[in-house]
Symmetry: C2
Amino acid sequence: VKALLLIAHGSRVSTSNDEVLELRRRLAERLGTAFDRVDCAFLELASPSMEQAIDDCIAQGCHALTLLPYFLTAGRHISTDIPAIVTRKQAQFPQVSIHMAPYLGQADELIETLAGLALGR
Amino acid sequence: VKALLLIAHGSRVSTSNDEVLELRRRLAERLGTAFDRVDCAFLELASPSMEQAIDDCIAQGCHALTLLPYFLTAGRHISTDIPAIVTRKQAQFPQVSIHMAPYLGQADELIETLAGLALGR
């Protein structure tokens, strides 16, 4: 079982978290059969937490887990918090392959997307 | 003078803020002559603030200002803080046309970008 976990910051504003749930749905649709499941998790202020989402995936038979951080820059969450959780969970579940994808802000295509928004296209 | 202002959250981690400065540079290069200047501003933990950046732009002759929020979801900053600053600055400078672009998280292309990161392309 291959799983993708979209990791977002989480917000006090529930509609902000709903945006992440909707994004998860559209991403799962776009990815088709590349992953058996696409879940999401939040670092703060919303659930499930990243730890809980990883535990749930593995309890349901996941043996390969890709983590995709929905973050724009490498602040404390990307540089410290997420790697610490990954290290802990990898030690707890050595039989599971846990892979970190680049965080969204590292994608070169963002320049083109931002240019389009700035130009009103 | 037409200006674009890229608005980011700001971080305690200075390399995170540096990523925004580098993005500003690449975006300015991509946009060519569409804007006379491309600046950036931070809501928290880094400078210039959004208010300061708007004041600077206008002091230097800007008459049309496009605000581009580098945010993924509409949490408190997008739904409350930024609109409040815009309302205040528009009242202070009625002669300047201030336009809000959609925040980055509203761009449909993000799905394709996230799919590429998840699939390791």
